[in-house]
Every structure is written in C-alpha cells, then in structure tokens.
C-alpha cells in the first residue's frame, strides 16, 4: 500500500489497517530480534577492535608526556599544564594499587580456593562450639580465639564466609572495571591536552573544568549519585545473585559451617532436564505464569474498558460517585484487601461459604480461576481510571459519521472505541503483561501459591505459584538460594525476550504511523 491509498482512508480504517499490520508484523519482529542480536554482537567486537586500535594509535602519536601517562596516570596532564587534574589521576592510580594490595588481591585469590572444614565433631567444652580449621587449600582462615579460664575458645561468628568472599570479589572486579575506564580516560585526556598544546592553546584550568560539570557535563553531575547507589545496591546484588546460580548455595551450605562452592551449570541442568521433578515443576509453573499473565492482563483490560464506557455513557448520572467507589478499592493497601479476600473465600471457615451454607473450594480446586477473578477486582479500577481519560480524547465526529453510516452501539465500540484505545495503550499493555508475569501480591497474599501438590511439584511449589512467588518461597522458606537464582535469571530472560520482541513490533507500527 502506498501513501496515497493510506491518506484516502477514513480514520477508522486507518486504525484497523494499523492493527492489522501490527499482527502481521509479529514474525518479522521476531526475525528482527535475532537480527538485532547478531548486529549487537558484531558491533561489540568491532568496538573492541576499534578500542585497541585507538589505544595504540594514541600511544604512537603521543609525546613523552602522553606516553608516560600510559604507565604513570596523570603524567600527561601534569606535563601539559593541568596539574590538579593530573594529580587526581595519579591519586586514583595510587589508590587503586593500595586497594588491590590490601583488599582486592586477597579476595581474588580466594574466589576459587576457599574452603573450610570441621576440625572436630566434639564441641568446645564451655561453649558447645565446634572448632574450625582450614581445609585442603585455605591457609588463612580468620578464627578469633578468646581465652576463658585458661582455655581458648573459638567464636564461629568470626570465621570465614562464602558470601563475603564472593561479594568482595565482585566489588573488586567492579572497581577494576571503573579503574580501567579511568585509565583510558587518562590516556585520552593526555592526548587531548597534547593536541591543544600543539595548536598553541592553553588547556582548561581546573576551575574552568569544574564549571563544565554544570553545563556540558551536567549529565555527569546529575547521574553520579543515583548511578553509584544503583551500582552498589542494585547491580552488585544482581551480579551476586547471578553468580549464586552457579554455586551450591542452599540450606546445607551456609557459611561458615559449610562454605558453598562453584558447581558450573549443574543447577540449570537440573531445572531443564537432569532432575525430572524440578524440570516438570518449572515447566508447569512457566505455563501457568504465561496463562495467568495473559488472562490477568486482558480480563482487566477489557472489563476495565467496559466499566469506563458505562460510567462515561451519555445520560448516566453521578459519574464522580461511581468512579470514586471503584477508586476506593484501589486505594486501600493491597495486602489488606487480599488477606480479607482470602479469609472471606476460604472453603472451610470463610464467611461467604458459612453464610451460604456451602463449602465451595474457591481457593483450592478453583484457585486458578479465583486468583484471576480477584485480580480483576484489584486491577479494574486502574484500567477504568486510565481509559476514562482516553475515552474523552476520541474525536466526537468519528462517532457521528459512524452513526450516519448506521452503525449501532456495538459496532461503534468494535470499529472505533476499541481500536483507538487498543492502539494507544499498546505499550501500556506490554508493560502490564510483563508486570503480571512478575505480579507477586495477588498470588502471595491470596493463595500463597497453593494448593500445594507435591506429587507434581517439587520444592514447595503449588498450583497457583508463579515463577516469582516460587522464587520468593525458595529464598525465604527453603533457603534454596541457588535454585532461586536460576529461576530469577530465567524470568529475566523471558521478560527481556518477550518485551524486546513486542517493543520492536510496536516500534514497527509506530513507523507506519508517521504517514498520517
């Protein structure tokens, strides 16, 4: 279809056209996704190549100062007249070396070898403590000993800790990466000042340079603190957790009684094929997670739109009242309403079954249906709020022309209202879908993942467990950190692939939109 055909269409037709192209685009989007991955890998290696090329060429073209700064950081800046900046670079280098000697090297050397074993199965006489000693490789386990009544007492609390070793190892790696970046910046800066000198100009002094942080480099000023916190309390834990997936860290491997160790891909193998029970559990939960995400998203969405339409219908009075009634339920904290629902719906002791004199198994046999319905109770007010606003945006003349064409209310909805809202809220739908894959509250508070069925599920999982609630149970109830980490990684992959594909698709249809 070319541009002329497109502009000749009515608005309604355009929506349908876009909708159609959206779905037709799905296979293409998937193909594009893999193409994009390939492209990314290519770009990555080309980038590395360029990096070394530039690194080398700067050295070749550099003067003595620039060359010196390849070994002594900041030398170039200092020789070219930027004393303070040079000193800062130098301080960073010295600081890094000290950091590595006193801290980093220690943990890097321990990352693969640390081991601790029980020396003696008989506990210490006074305290009941076990004694610890070093195992096959370790040489320097810190056991603090105290003397009580002439006897030395070992305090296990001060002994070795796998978590600490792994965590500080990762921290050392992060610091090293940051240092390398700074080192590269140092060579670039040295070369840049050399060029400025060559042009016969004077490089910026320190105060001038500081001023750039309020203007040209304002982004650094604004981002430093948030990014730093993000790295320490978000990125570092994520890397840490990813590492856990490759260890045997679980209930039976808690430091310092038993340190955990690397096991390679064993945990992944368990989830996929090696352990039949685990892999079938994972499969069942994955399927239910997707079913749940689909129904939870679209049931809320469609019914929410209908409610919004009803409230906004011409001739309906007390619009604000109806809206407030629904919003009320969205405002009460979810854990309260969900716990109340759980107590009300219980088949043995719930008030609803008691009042009706029945014992309908809402939360056992029918749990999977119940959670989706209760989720509508939770979610519809939100959809209603959002779509109410959108409904007012739809141009009135669209409806007018449709009415003249003899379209009834239902046709108006399917031909105009729904396509409009659907198109505008596609990104919202994608985020909601991904959000529902990770929707913890409804399942956790309502059923706790139950009813449990150990004949089909392993590790405490139940029929309504989502991957994330299972992950939570594994962490908190089962202390099975290795498996939790594996599940976390898999959830990430599912969400990432899913949203990248849909994101590409909606981008593709956005491009079409540029016609109009």
């Amino acid at each position: 279809m070319d541009y002329l055909d497109y502009v000749q269409m009515t608005k309604g037709q355009r929506f349908i056209y876009k909708l159609k192209s959206f779905f037709i685009g799905i296979p293409k989007a998937i193909a594009n996704f893999f193409k994009a991955i390939g492209l990314f890998i290519k770009k990555f290696f080309v980038g590395i190549g360029n990096f070394f090329k530039n690194y080398g060429s700067r050295f070749a073209k550099g003067d003595a100062g620039t060359k010196l700064s390849y070994i002594i950081m900041g030398a170039g800046n200092m020789l070219h007249g930027q004393i303070i900046k040079g000193l800062i670079f130098l301080a960073a280098e010295v600081g890094y070396i000290i950091f590595m000697i006193t801290f980093g090297a220690h943990y890097i050397s321990r990352i693969y070898t640390s081991q601790l074993v029980l020396l003696d199965s008989k506990p210490d006489t006074y305290t009941g403590f076990y004694k610890f000693g070093t195992g096959a490789v370790g040489k320097e386990v810190a056991i603090v000993q105290k003397t009580i009544h002439g006897e030395s007492v070992t305090n296990a609390a001060t002994a070795d800790d796998s978590n600490k070793i792994l965590l500080f190892f990762i921290l050392t790696v992060i610091v090293t990466v940051a240092f390398i970046a700074l080192y590269i910046a140092n060579t670039k800066s040295a070369y840049a000042t050399q060029q400025i000198r060559a042009e016969g100009k004077k490089p910026m002094n320190f105060v001038e340079e500081l001023k750039t942080f309020l203007d040209d480099r304002f982004h650094i000023t604004l981002l430093t603190l948030p990014v730093l916190l993000l790295i320490v309390f978000n990125v570092l834990p994520i890397i840490f957790t990813i590492c856990m997936a490759f260890t045997n860290y679980d209930e039976d491997h808690q430091s310092p009684i038993k340190l955990y160790q690397w096991v390679g891909f064993k945990n992944f193998a368990d989830v996929f094929y090696a352990d039949a029970k685990k892999s079938s559990t994972f499969g069942l939960i994955l399927v239910w997670t997707l079913i749940w995400a689909f129904f939870a998203t679209f049931s809320n969405y469609i019914v929410g739109i209908i409610v919004a339409l009803m409230i906004n219908k011409k001739g309906i009075k007390f619009k604000a009242f109806w809206r407030t009634m629904f919003v009320l339920t969205a405002a009460v904290p979810q854990f309260v309403t969900l716990l109340v629902m759980r107590l009300l719906l219980d088949d043995k002791s719930g008030a609803i079954n008691s009042a009706l004199g029945t014992s309908f198994p809402f939360l056992t046999e029918w749990a999977n249906v119940t959670v989706i319905i209760v989720n509508m109770w939770i979610g519809i007010p939100y959809t209603m709020l959002i779509t109410s606003g959108l409904l007012m945006n739809i141009p009135e003349d669209l409806y007018e022309s449709a009415r003249i064409d003899g379209a009834n209310a239902f046709q108006q909805f399917t031909k105009i209202t729904f396509p409009y809202i659907f198109f505008v809220t596609t990104p919202y739908l994608i985020t909601t879908f991904v959000g529902n894959i990770n929707n913890f509250n409804v399942i956790f508070f309502l059923t706790g993942g139950g009813p449990e069925d150990p004949t089909k599920y392993s590790n405490g999982a139940g029929k309504t467990d989502l991957l994330v609630t299972w992950l939570y149970k594994l962490t908190v109830d089962k202390s099975n950190f290795k498996l939790a980490a594996v599940i976390g990684i898999l959830v990430f992959i599912i969400c990432a692939v899913g949203s990248l594909i849909t994101f590409n698709m909606s981008k593709a249809s956005k491009n079409e939109e540029e016609f109009s």
């Binding site: 006074y126 305290t127 009941g128 096959a136 006897e151 029970k277």
Partner: protein, 454 residues
C-alpha cells in the same frame, strides 16, 4: 572448687592438643578433616544455681565473655508465651547480676513450629536462645546451626529430665538441646455438657453421632499431616527417619486401610464432623468453633486449652486420649505424634557461655514449674512429672494415656515427609466427603511415597 580446677586443667590439655593439631594442619595440601581432638575425659558434674560458689563461677565466666561490660542476648519464643518468658528473663538477670557487666536480653516472637526454618534461613542472625519443636532438631544439627549442650550443663540436663525427652534432644551421642515442655502432642478436648456419657469418648463414630445430635461437630484435622499420620501408625505402616533418611511404606494394603479409615470418618463432614480448618489454621478454627458453638470436641494440644476454657467455661472442659477409629472392620486405638519443645543455642552466639547458661536456666526445674503454673505447659522434668497437681491435670493425664500410642516425631519423620503431600490424603477425603475409590487412594499413596524418596 577443687574439682573445678581439675576440670580446668583437663580442659587446658584438650585445648593444647587441639592447638598442636591445628598447627600440624596448616599448609598440608591434601589433609581434609584428618585431626581428631582427644575427647575430654572428665566426668559430667552436676551444678546447683543455689550454691554461691557456682553462681560466682558462672559470673566470672560471663565477665570474661562480656564485651565492653555488656552481654547482649536475643531469645525467640512463641507469641503466646512471650510475656511469661520475659518474666523468667528478669529472674535470670537478677540471679546473675554483677557489677562487671550488664545483661541485656531482647525477645522476639517466633512460633516453635517456625523457629527451626527461621534459624536455617540465616543462621548468623538466629537468636542466641530459641525455642523449637523437636522434629526440627535433625535439620538444625545437619546444618550445624545449633550448638550442643555445653558439658558444663550436660550433667544437669541429663540428670533432671525424663529419658524420652533426652532421647529426642540427642543426635548420635551428643546432647544437642535443652528439653523444655513435654506437651507437643495432641489429644482430645471435649465439652462435658455434650459428652455426658464418657464411654462414648472411646469411639470416634459414636462421638460423631452424639455431636451431630447436639447440632455440633467433632474436629480432627485430617488434612494436616501432623494429625493424619496417626492413622498410618494405627494401620501399622513403617514410618521411620534415621540418619537423615526417610522411610515411609504407605503405598500398600496397610496404607490403604489408613486412608479408607479417614474416608469413613470424612463421610460425616459437616454432619457431626469437621475435618479441616481452612486458611485460618487449627488454633483459630478450634477457638472459633468452641466460641461460636459448632464444635463439641477437638483433637488438639495444650496450646488451645486456655482459649477453649474461656469459651465454654473451665469446668466444662474435659480431656481424654484419642478415640478408637474403624479400620479394617474393627475399632482400633488411634495413634499419634507425641513430642517435646526444646531450647537450642545458636552456634553463632557472641556470648556462647551466657547463652548456654540462659538456656539451662529457662529449662530447669524452677522455670518448668512456673511455666506449668502460669501457662499450663507440661514439664519434662522428672521430679515435676511426679508432682501431685501436675499428675492429676486432665491434659497431663490425657497425654499420659495416649503415650503408649504416641510416636516420637524426630524418629519418624523429617522435612521431606511434611513436604510429601501426605496431608492431602486426608485433605481430599474431607473435600470429597469420603467418596473415594480404592484405586484413587492407591494412586495418591503411591505418589506420596514416591515424593519421600526425592
């Protein structure tokens, strides 16, 4: 005091052996845990908190252990017991008050059923002293999160408590915990106004009939594995937990008999019988049931005693052993779990000796007597078990009568058992009001048994 110094010398020798062994290990590449420290060979002594000398000795040790003049301990106890245990902690502080240090003890609520898993979730953050149900001992010991009873108190603990309670506190030959109460088992509480004829109490079917006639129900949580396992014991199934291995032979004729016996009772669901509490749990359901009047009898433990008493009046509460149930055409005595609540000391305590002292203090005769007087919880102390008032306590009597039919949890079941879905056998029976075919039951039993092997 003389004997104490001898003991100290023996200890010093042990410590020296250990130190040499440690030195020998350093650097050697292949050795693993090759060193064994000579076991201290002194006899276990019995100490007495009422002796000034002992108290002084303990205070000296605690003073050596104190950091910056402070001893900070944390105790986990169930919510119901919290205020009572706090009063005991005050007594402890009074007894060992000293100018060289200050004792600070914080308490947190942690139910005995969950304490074990809470410790394992993060052993380093566990309370110094925690109260837990005996079946969790093996996993705590396996993870090395619990310190064994210090030899300094071991003699006392061994001498003062009943053999059964010491048995469940022992792993191998090591005494790993301090026995605290003996009532972690269940029996029958009933409303005397409904069951006027006591002979009925011996037969489940009769009880259900009487209750139904009064428009009330008998409660037995068939859906809860802790309660329903009694049926499998009754049928003679082999259920054992040894050396970390779970054996449970239930997918056979005997297991089927047990399941069918449950189905037989479950036929009366809502008609004189209630077989599952739903989301609110046993305790809340029983309290609700007696208060609102839809329960006339319940299989539950002492922890629900106070609530039942306030609901129907102290004088109307009766207690008895479990009734007989119909199995394979004859009435057989329903068996059960009997258990203990224990006190454990965390391996990670920063004040290990003080923690051991506190644990012993909370488990000794005085504390157990007070605990019975205030909370109605039954002792493990031998002397108290012979005490006249305790002996005639209906709950104590009921538990004693049930004892020949009660199985120790720690010896029968491990964690894998609870997670096997065995509770669903009774749970399904209740949901379907007993109408299940033998084939269905067998299939379920096979599934459950397979889970135990995982």
């Amino acid at each position: 005091m003389a004997s104490k110094s001898k003991k100290a010398v023996a200890l010093l020798l042990t410590a020296m052996t250990a130190a040499t062994a440690l030195a020998g290990c350093g650097g050697s590449e292949s050795s693993g845990p090759s060193i064994s420290v000579a076991q201290s060979s002194f006899e276990l002594e019995v100490i007495d908190f009422k002796s000034d000398e002992t108290v002084k000795y303990i205070k000296d040790t605690m003073a050596a252990e104190a950091k910056d003049g402070r001893i900070v301990l944390k105790v986990w106890t169930s919510g119901d017991d919290k205020s009572f245990e706090e009063s005991r902690l005050e007594e402890f502080k009074k007894l060992f008050a000293d100018s060289r240090y200050e004792i600070k003890i914080g308490t947190s609520e942690k139910g005995e059923d969950k304490a074990g898993s809470a410790v394992l979730e993060n052993p380093k953050k566990a309370a110094d002293v925690f109260s837990f149900a005996d079946d969790q001992l093996s996993s705590l010991a396996k993870a090395g999160a619990i310190a064994s009873v210090a030899p300094y108190y071991e003699g006392n603990v061994r001498q003062e408590n009943t053999d059964d309670s010491l048995g469940v506190s022992t792993i191998g030959t090591d005494l790993m915990a301090f026995p605290k109460t003996s009532d972690n088992g269940y029996f029958l509480y009933y409303d005397k106004r409904v069951f006027t004829d006591e002979s009925v109490l011996d037969n489940m079917d009769e009880m259900i009939k009487v209750a139904n006639a009064a428009g009330k129900n008998v409660y037995l949580n068939l859906g809860g594995p802790w309660y329903s396992t009694g049926f499998f014991f009754t049928a003679g199934c082999e259920i054992k937990y040894e050396n970390g291995k779970q054996t449970a032979k239930i997918a056979n004729e005997k297991g089927l008999s047990a399941a069918k016996a449950m189905c037989h009772i479950a036929e009366n669901q809502d008609k004189g019988f209630k077989g599952a509490p739903g989301a609110i749990g046993d305790n809340a359901y029983v309290a609700q049931g007696f208060d609102e009047g839809f329960l006339a009898a319940a299989v539950i433990g002492t922890w629900c005693g106070p609530a039942i008493k306030t609901s129907i009046g102290k004088d109307n509460v009766g207690a008895a052993k479990l009734p007989k149930v119909l199995m394979d055409g004859e009435y057989k005595q329903l068996e059960s779990f009997g258990g203990y609540k224990l006190l454990g000391v965390s391996v990670y305590s920063e004040y290990p000796f003080s923690a051991q002292t506190l644990a012993y203090f909370l488990a000794n005769e005085d504390s157990q007597l007070e605990r019975y007087n205030v909370r109605g919880l039954l002792p493990t102390n031998k002397k108290l078990a012979e005490d006249a008032t305790i002996k005639t306590d209906p709950a104590f009597k009921a538990l004693e009568d049930q004892k020949p039919f009660a199985h120790a949890q720690g010896e029968s079941v491990g964690t894998v058992y609870w997670g096997s879905g065995i509770g669903d056998v009774g749970g399904k029976a209740v949901d379907q009001k007993g109408s299940r075919t033998d084939a269905e039951l067998m299939e379920q039993l096979q599934g459950v048994e397979a889970n135990m092997k995982a």
